[in-house]
Symmetry: C2
Subunit: 429 residues, 2 copies
């Protein structure tokens, strides 16, 4: 049998190192697609002679019944900002978007936003009540819920306050902090419609009020049309039980709408004929306009995007040459149909490549591969959704809403790439 | 403003308990869709007056930078079988399929199969060499790989030995053990084609040999057509870095083909003109037929399915009435187009409902909702894929391959449900 080389040894075999070095030196920079280069010919780049991991047996299959990330990934964590909120229980942490790729957020990295800390609920004591304008008030155990037909849907969840600090200009240096109150997981649960039908809606049933079992008793008014459309009472995320901080054992999923409506630790759904105007839909989560007037409800999270790399926490680490720009886009109104990116602050726009499943109200991943010439860049991305809506500039939003706002900032974000590859959060007009 | 009830208190307000009990007692069993019932009127089913989780602030946002499942989910773990293999380093553990739903496997629960334990690799020392029948031998660092265009694909990975113990009849009591060597995650990585094109394939390049950096130096021969079709050098799973036990920092993804070809801790790809006939594709992972002759290569994992609940580890916990049957189906040849289920050992077949994204070479989730009358059941599922292939019975497989086999058992599985709801692994002819 012929062979392409005389030895099947690994790359660290000393007798082959001369050959390899020659090969690498001969390879040099890449022509063709022009999108990558080899590691260069520096012998310092070669691996140690035989690495320990190749010589000794590693941990076996009993090491971790529930597995964890590599110790080399310790920097990939949710982070909070101490001064942003008065307490740690009613606070926020952020998804490390700059470290992630694809469209699924691992459960351990989904951002948290609590109004009274994590309710640590025992699933055997869990109950969900449906009361109000129904024919039969009902109480379900968790096992009861699992006897209804289930669906599986991948949805993004974005906090209404995501990017809120950006209303008044560039504030936080990293997409984890500017855009990290978004995640995207696959939910399994029961369409809320089935539970409401089980209870029997009275003819004057126009609204529901989902209520959480946490110390905040978090509640929101949801119009019955949305409740009967695509809302889900979910008990799984990415295949396994909901995480405690995401509402274990059951939460409401309100696809495409602002995150605080997705009530966690869901204990009750009251059916009524008018909205409740609860605290978190009046004094908070409303858009305060210039004259002191606030918009009543802003439910849908409009189309938005952000470049996750390069970004302030993910600088360009190499010199000139092949560079991958990547980011996320999403819309509460459906699918993303197109993402444009610019390297020069909007003078020239290029259509990015969206890769991976394109599902309604889910994150979309985009890429733009380019040859960096080592000069300064002003990076922006702009999302289009299937309704024809195009992500606006921050200035366009301010022209309509002024600068009192905290919520619903879906304006175009700018990153300034310096000649040394470092990246800063800036704003340009 | 009118309201559906006089109080907005939670369900545990003592003044409302009489009302609630009346409401529940009035609800009773459910007519209509007939698929669920409320928890019944027993006051013992009502929640404690005011639960601690509603009264006290829970943990805040600094509690877990990388989150973990609830302590109430401690039973949802990978499990191994002590007697199955000679060592723990070269062994297997199993995905707890009976506890999961949807089509995504959380990274911490993806089954493990190692031939020399987990290689604990430092990503800064990582190198991938491409050598053999190429114009330019190349060595890539991890950062080099990240300068090529990336793709995102959801794929199942199944070990060729999954269900291997079932060849000679029902052996292991639970789908975690009979079918748990399968998982499904979204990979992000570089199409292998781009790396091979970068090195430049010589005209006589017909095969590649991916080789792992683990102590086993795991290697397999892969035909060049597959390498250039849909193989990926992946560095992310479900958005984050590969887990150590899944090949951190980079593995080969060989969609639809048997798991051990998906070389982990990928350190080298040799290009040749013939297959290598390495240990793990000759003495192992081949199908030994009756006369002592073995099939040369069996790469594709044919269409297969399993009911994950009810199943031996997931018995029916309620009495008669609304019951959800659910399971998984997959095919190495593309999409699943249909799943049939039977409750009576094959006398009557019903089309199951497939729910969630249907992606090629990925897990598909199916459901069948039925009213259990409390009698004994013989549950089976049968997958169809887009090529028209239909999952065979175990007897049909034995008629062709005899009973020497360990690998590639995609036969129909049977669960026996007893009148008390308990479930056993059985075989029927």
């Amino acid at each position: 049998m012929s062979r392409s080389s005389k030895s099947h040894d690994g790359p660290a075999n000393p007798s082959r190192r001369g050959l390899l070095k020659a090969g690498i030196a001969g390879a040099g920079l890449v022509a063709g697609a022009g999108l990558a280069r080899a590691a260069g010919g520096d012998p310092a780049n070669l691996p140690p002679n035989v690495a320990d991991w190749s010589r000794y047996l590693g941990p076996g299959v009993d090491a971790a019944p529930y597995g964890m990330p590599s110790e080399h990934e310790a920097q990939v964590v949710r982070r909070s900002v101490e001064w942003l909120t008065a307490s740690r229980e009613s606070s926020i942490n952020f998804t490390p978007l700059h470290e992630l790729d694809g469209i699924i957020t691992p459960n351990g990295l989904c951002f948290e936003r609590h109004h009274g800390g994590v309710a640590e609920m025992n699933p055997t004591d869990y109950r969900l009540m449906i009361n109000g304008l129904v024919d039969k008030p009902l109480i379900f155990t968790l096992e009861d819920l699992k006897r209804f037909p289930r669906v599986n849907r991948l949805y993004f969840l974005e906090c209404a306050a995501n990017s809120g600090m950006e209303w008044r200009g560039a504030q936080l240096n990293g997409c984890q902090f500017t855009h990290g109150m978004v995640h995207c997981v696959m939910y399994t649960g029961v369409p809320l419609k089935y539970l409401l039908e089980e209870a029997g809606l009275k003819t004057n049933a126009k609204w529901i009020m989902p209520e959480g079992g946490d110390a905040a008793g978090m509640n929101r008014s949801v119009p019955i049309e949305k409740a009967l459309d695509d809302c889900i009472v979910a008990f799984k995320m990415n295949g396994e039980a909901l995480r405690p901080e995401q509402g274990y054992p059951a939460r409401l999923v309100v696809p495409g709408w602002e995150g605080n409506m997705w009530v966690k630790w869901l204990r009750r759904i009251e059916v009524g004929d008018m909205p409740w105007h609860a605290r978190e839909e009046t004094s908070k989560y409303t858009d305060l306009l210039e004259g002191g007037k606030a918009r009543r409800f802003t439910w849908v999270m409009d189309a938005k995007s952000v470049i996750t790399s390069p970004s302030p926490q993910a600088p360009i680490l190499h010199a000139k040459g092949a560079t991958v720009l990547t980011g996320l886009a999403w819309s509460g109104n459906g699918r993303i149909t197109r993402v444009d990116v610019t390297l020069d602050g909007g003078k020239n726009w290029h259509e990015a490549r969206i890769d991976g499943p394109s599902l309604p109200k889910a994150l979309h991943r985009f890429y733009f591969e380019f040859d960096w010439d080592g000069s300064e860049l002003l990076l922006q991305s702009r999302a289009h959704d299937e309704t024809g809506y195009v992500q606006p500039t921050k200035d366009a939003l301010r022209a309509v809403r002024g600068t009192n706002s905290i919520y619903h900032n879906n304006g175009i974000q700018t990153w300034y790439v310096k000649a040394d590859g470092g990246v800063e959060n800036v704003e340009i007009s």
